[in-house]
Amino acid sequence: MSPDNIFEGANEVSDDEANSDERKLGYGAAVVETMAQIMREDESVFVAGEDVGAHGGVFGYFRGLQPEFGEDRVVDTPIAEQAIIGLGIGSAVQGLRPVVDLMFMDFICVAMDQIVNQAAKLKYMFGGGAKLPLTITTAGGAGLSAAAQHSQSLEAMLCHVPGLKVAMPSDAYEVKGLLTACVREDNPTVFIINKRKLADTCHVPEELFEIPLGEGHIVREGSDVTVVAIGRMVDEAKGAAEKLSDEGIDCELINPRTVQPLDIDLIVESVSKTGHLVIVHEAVRFGGIGAEIAAQIQEQAFDYLDAPIERVAAPFSPIPFSPVLEKQYIPDVERIVAGIKNLF
């Protein structure tokens, strides 16, 4: 399977969907559409990265931009992740709105200095003088047998760094709303595309709209347990909630949408109602964003908690290649159900 195959079809709307009233769009296609619309309305926006131009990105989520906006605004770069981020920083300080791409999220490590020591801190170190409207797009998540260096979910590293904002869209709707917000935002943002979601469709408005960074979303209301799920895990958590509703456990499902800033108030409120919290993410459990959520919730909702906060996340190992192991590695409906049941 090549990355391209994963994406195939995601740009087209299927017949069924086209016939429905609501306009549906693929998750990957939503990136393209959003970028195109933003670039039409704002000349200062450009895209740069490896193979984002002529090829449209290895996952195709920039496909079609270069034909419309030209090589000057959709720029193929050398393999040079540090310089790609630097390109973004320097041009952002000069007033442009760069969207720079790191093909796989694992590659943030190659450019970590530019992200953590430069982009995140620049405004503060400079005493506030600079604006940094920089968006870094990158594809995270496992599930394609891409092994230990092409499957990671490293958002926890980024969330720990003051100065960054981190968005993790769980569906095509959020892709559009969060990407719009990120590109229009005057701070450096990391926009994490889940590579297993690329072909999934859902309703997405035609017009640009913003989902505010830092506002979580209640995906499903419920009274027995609060489930916080990050990125693609929202899908799995939905499945778990449905399963459990048959068994009489009523889940309230919260999708924080951004992990930095984190909408902790929404979670606190929910937990004060349900008394139970399960956090689900694809990243390694130790030191994942779930730890921070758990720490804040036990602090702010201590008296409401009827049971320990449970985390459903990846085990403490690199991501294994073999599909049988990888399947077990990534949290799924079954493991989430088990995690929730643990509390009762």
Partner: protein
């Protein structure tokens, strides 16, 4: 340097091993029998074969995302490799690494690498160990033309030069980094111009000709073993299949004509012609070699398919040496 019949045959066998294994892997990938991403080396066989044939067994190599070719050319095992590509427990990495992390420490193959350029600093480490322990070995880093644009390559090349390490840099210049032609990502014509920036010598080699690569490598490593410090070879080569997988992708980053033109210089055909013309082998014995190796490839598929997947308990094994992961 005398190129004996033995060497010619050895070079040929190495290339056929790579070619037939990879063609098979490509077919399996196309029919969705291999998980993950597969970066085929087909077309570039002369490089890995020419280099590895010139090395001592324990000379180290580091590789790239296009790593099967390197390991097979160094003598890698079909069974363990095919099993790894299928994610089986009998594979080179017990199914945990897959195509991008193929390695064989017994053959001093220190790993394919999914991060472009990241193997080069590791090669420097091996070269340092060779120098410190004075074991007479050299360390070879394979990397693509595109990889020379990344920082890790640069740091490693300069470090090897500064510490005067016994190391050979082998650039496989196939003119593309994924879907980007070289001229779009660098403003120089020959990658070898970079060697001078580190202060070591380099040479351009016809990477479609195993003998040329073998000769250049032999010359280079003689000097390197003599303590003259690192060197670089730029092997001009070409990949016949797509960047990942087999068939072309959506974008037309290169023309069919270009591929056809380069296929005329197929390193196996070049070498077969040489074998026949020089009377070292006839068409029949060439075919016999192919048949035998194909049989081994077929057996490796069988071996791999009959091998078990890893056990779920294996998940946390080998995260650390001596002891379990938490």
């Amino acid at each position: 340097m005398e190129i004996t019949d033995e060497i010619l045959i050895d070079l040929y066998k190495r290339m056929v091993r790579v070619r037939l294994f990879e063609e098979e892997a490509g077919r399996l990938a196309e029919s969705a029998r291999l998980p993950g991403f597969l970066h085929l080396y087909v077309g570039e066989e002369a490089v890995a074969s020419g280099v590895c044939a010139a090395l001592e067994n324990q000379d180290q190599i580091t590789s790239t995302h296009r790593g099967h070719g390197h390991l097979l050319a160094k003598g890698g095992d079909f069974n363990r490799m095919m099993a790894e590509l299928m994610g089986k427990s009998t594979g080179y990495c017990n199914g945990k690494g897959g195509s991008m992390h193929i390695c064989d420490l017994d053959l001093a193959m220190l790993g394919a690498n999914g991060i472009v350029g990241a193997g080069v600093p590791i090669s420097v480490g091996a070269a340092f160990a060779n120098k410190l322990t004075n074991n007479g070995l050299i360390s070879v880093a394979f990397f693509g033309d595109g990889a020379t644009n990344i920082g890790a390559f640069h740091e490693a090349a300069n470090m090897a030069a500064a510490l005067s390490l016994p190391m050979l840099f082998v650039c496989e210049n196939n003119e593309y980094a994924e879907y980007s032609p070289r001229h779009k990502t660098m403003a120089i014509t020959d990658v070898i111009e970079r060697a001078a920036a580190y202060g070591f010598p380099g040479a351009i080699v016809d990477g479609m000709d195993a003998v040329a690569v073998f000769e250049a490598t032999s010359l280079a490593i003689e000097k390197i073993r003599n303590g003259e410090g690192p060197m670089m070879l730029e092997c001009k080569t070409y990949r016949f299949y797509d960047h990942v997988g087999v068939k072309g992708t959506a974008s037309n980053y290169r023309t069919d004509e270009e591929v056809e033109e380069m296929r005329k210089r197929d390193p196996l055909v070049v070498h077969e012609t040489r074998l026949i013309d020089s009377g070292v082998m006839d068409a029949e014995s060439i075919q016999a070699i192919k048949d035998e190796i194909q049989k081994e490839v077929d057996m490796s598929v069988e071996f791999a398919e009959n091998s078990p997947f890893p056990e779920l308990e294996d998940m946390l094994v080998d995260v650390y040496t001596n002891g379990e992961s938490s």
